[in-house]
């Protein structure tokens, strides 16, 4: 199997660095994206279709990052794109919002368990911020309970005081508890009684750099009870998991109901729309908050979202994703086992997280991931992965073959560890 090189990618990154901060900033860039080593990874895409993308050097990648989530059906899905193109010809960003917004909100109400209403925006962070604003406005309380290792976007309230761009006062009401720690949660509630606006969490702990942790039996039901009894708004950040477990919301999947549910990545197969869904009792409050954006009511993403939701329903929704994820995890586990490499696969199968367990520095893991990418399977070092519904059995078999070869390359480089 040949390994890839990236001369055009690297030249383009140098050009980009002249006119764009970092060349590529954020999670899709080499720095925050943990391209280790940077020479193993493509930096710019040329095109994408189904489960694959091609970089500017013409290298083809089976993509398990799915644009970090939005590619839920397959890149350039014909049905979603047709709906979007049809809407584009009619009108997109107009003075009055398109009627498509109402149609989508009604479809969300039918689809998502807690969606008595839906507020549309663009990014996941728009919805987590609105959720916290809503909780504070509705309760008149200040404090936010986070789960340690959280990620809810990049707004100041989500950061730490040691970030140079954050004022300590912006995060002084942030409280932390471990995931699955009911006793810790009870203690925090008791210590901050009558001043907690909300508890915000992802449906399960899918933090980076650590094995992902599923909710313990009864955990969410007890959290729900504690929030209700103490007047705390329960916010589920379903931006990453959303619809890869359950179209009704990941709260529904785990058998409870959130007060506010943040959705984004899975909604429209890459068209830019996010959604905060909520219960009726919070509708007057969210209605009163000044919160808007220039493109939040554009019609094309609404049309794309309607097509995406209907196609997801037809294809089996979250269960179809979970089934595909199980197959991928199985071939990876088999390749690791046959090569005598310790591989931890954690989280839900449709969002599997990988870690080689044979050292605690993650350096072996980074070497293996680089070997995978250079052979055409795009995985990333320390972030969970994503399935999409265009994945085929042949794609999954290819994943197993590449994993096997990448493990062999790793073992050849480390005879001191692998006999």
């Amino acid at each position: 199997m040949n390994t890839y090189t990236y001369p055009k990618n690297d030249a383009l990154l140098q050009r980009a660095a002249q006119v764009i901060p970092c060349g590529v900033y954020g999670h899709q860039g080499p720095a925050e994206g943990c391209f280790i080593p940077i020479s193993a990874f493509p930096k710019f895409a040329a095109k994408a279709k189904g489960s694959y993308f091609y970089d500017v050097d013409g290298n083809k990648f089976l993509d398990y990052m799915c644009a970090y989530g939005p590619n839920i059906l397959g890149y350039c899905d014909e049905d979603v794109n047709a709906a979007a193109m049809e809407q584009m010809a009619i009108g997109d960003c107009i003075t009055a919002p398109s009627y498509k917004m109402v149609e989508l909100a009604e479809l969300m109400h039918e689809t998502v368990q807690c969606a008595d209403w839906t507020f549309f925006a663009k990014n996941g962070g728009d919805t987590t911020t609105l959720a916290v604003l809503t909780a504070r406005a509705a309760t008149g309380k200040r404090k936010i309970i986070f789960v340690k290792g959280y990620y809810h976007g990049v707004a100041q309230w989500t950061q730490r005081a040691d970030a140079p761009w954050v004022l300590p006062s912006e995060v002084e009401h942030n409280l932390m508890v471990d995931f699955n720690d009911i006793e810790g949660l009870k203690k925090i509630i008791e210590e901050n009684k009558d001043d907690i606006a909300c508890f915000i969490s992802t449906p399960y702990m899918h933090g980076n750099f650590v094995d992902n942790v599923l909710p313990a039996p009864g955990y969410w039901q007890e959290v729900r009870r504690l929030c209700t009894e103490n007047g705390i708004i329960l916010i589920i950040d379903d931006v990453r998991c959303g619809w890869r477990l359950d179209l009704a919301g990941s709260d529904h999947y785990y058998g409870f109901e959130a007060d506010l549910l943040c959705l984004c990545k899975g909604i429209a197969n890459g068209f830019n729309v996010s959604a905060l869904c909520g219960k009726d009792f919070l509708k007057p409050t969210v209605s009163s908050i000044t919160y808007t954006g220039s493109y939040w009511m554009s019609a094309v993403p609404f049309a794309a979202a309607i097509a995406c939701i209907n196609k997801m329903k037809a294809l089996g929704g979250g269960q179809a994703h979970l089934a595909l994820g199980r197959k991928v995890c199985d071939v990876l586990a088999k390749a690791a086992r046959e090569n005598g490499v310790g591989l931890s696969i954690s989280g839900e199968p449709s969002l599997f997280y990988l870690r080689i367990t044979d050292d605690n520095s993650l350096m072996l893991h980074q070497e293996w991931i680089a070997e995978m990418v250079k052979r055409g399977v795009y995985v990333t070092n320390h972030h969970n992965h994503f399935t999409n519904l265009s994945l085929t059995d042949a794609d999954i078999d290819f994943t197993g073959q590449v994993a096997d070869e990448a493990f062999k390359a790793l073992k050849a480089r480390h005879p001191e560890l692998y006999q």
Binding site: L13, Q14, A31, E32, P37, I38, D162, S361
Partner: protein, 251 residues
């Protein structure tokens, strides 16, 4: 915002500590650090750090505690900071007979250190000087990281997020340090780490200099491949937060 107590720790454990690499790299400094008999100067900063500089046979070494043959008492961190800035010359309360070394050789050494830590553009055009200066600055920054991680309120937030283990930091073909995190405290040592849990390697003296001078930004340097990092990345991410505080204190 600079806290005077934290500044005193930085001045002690990073700035004065940099006399060690200065004496190792600069011939004039070596000569100044060669008293006829071993000499030592102790600094007791009330409400701040306490350390002793030892000079012998061309080398300098810092130890904890005030065991100097010449002992200086600084009544406050502010007074110590003023001394390091050259605004105040305290008199020793012990070792008066050896005060000549303090007033002559030690003063010349600290003046020379300033030449390397705050070099002129003209000096930096001499490549050998540039590399010596960057090496000394590298050590100053590396030791300031620990001083800030252990004392600065914002630095402590970042240090608390660094899991136990060793971070290797080096300039390719140049100096190396290991920074060990344990129980939310950092210790810097001037040696190449043998089994680091994470690493941050600058590809050249120029990259390191650019970062320290603020003309190069770390995320851009990472993207350009000028800095290589690997291993347990949260260690590096949080170290970079502290590096931002170093820039505040050493500015």
């Amino acid at each position: 915002m600079k806290d005077p107590v934290v500044m005193a720790h930085v001045n002690m454990w990073a700035v004065l500590k940099s006399l060690e690499p200065l004496c190792a790299l600069d011939e004039t400094a070596k000569a100044l650090a060669s008293p006829k008999k071993p000499m030592s100067i102790g600094f007791h900063v009330q409400g701040g750090p306490m350390a002793t500089l030892h000079f012998d046979e061309g080398s300098c070494r810092m130890t904890r505690g005030n065991t100097g043959k010449v002992k200086l008492l600084l009544p406050s961190p502010q007074a110590f900071n003023a001394m390091v800035d050259g605004d105040r010359n305290p008199l020793p309360y012990s070792g008066l007979t050896k005060v000549n070394f303090l007033l002559r050789e030690f003063t010349q050494l600290t003046d020379l250190l300033e030449v390397y830590l705050r070099p002129s553009q003209e000096d930096l055009e001499d490549r050998a000087f540039f590399e010596r200066s960057t090496t000394i600055l590298f050590h100053t920054v590396a030791f300031a990281l620990a001083a800030i991680a252990n004392n600065d309120p914002l630095g402590r937030i970042a240090a608390a997020a660094i899991p136990d283990g060793t971070i290797a930091m080096e300039i390719l073909g140049g100096p190396a340090v290991e920074i060990t995190a344990r129980d939310s405290r950092l210790v810097t040592r001037s040696r190449k780490a043998e089994r680091p849990r994470s690493y941050m390697i600058f590809d050249s003296f120029d990259t390191a200099r650019g970062l320290f001078d603020g003309t190069l930004e770390s995320m851009s340097a990472l993207a350009a491949g000028k800095i290589r990092m690997g291993g347990y990345i949260p260690m590096i991410d949080n170290l970079n937060r502290i590096l931002g505080r170093v820039a505040v204190y050493l500015a």
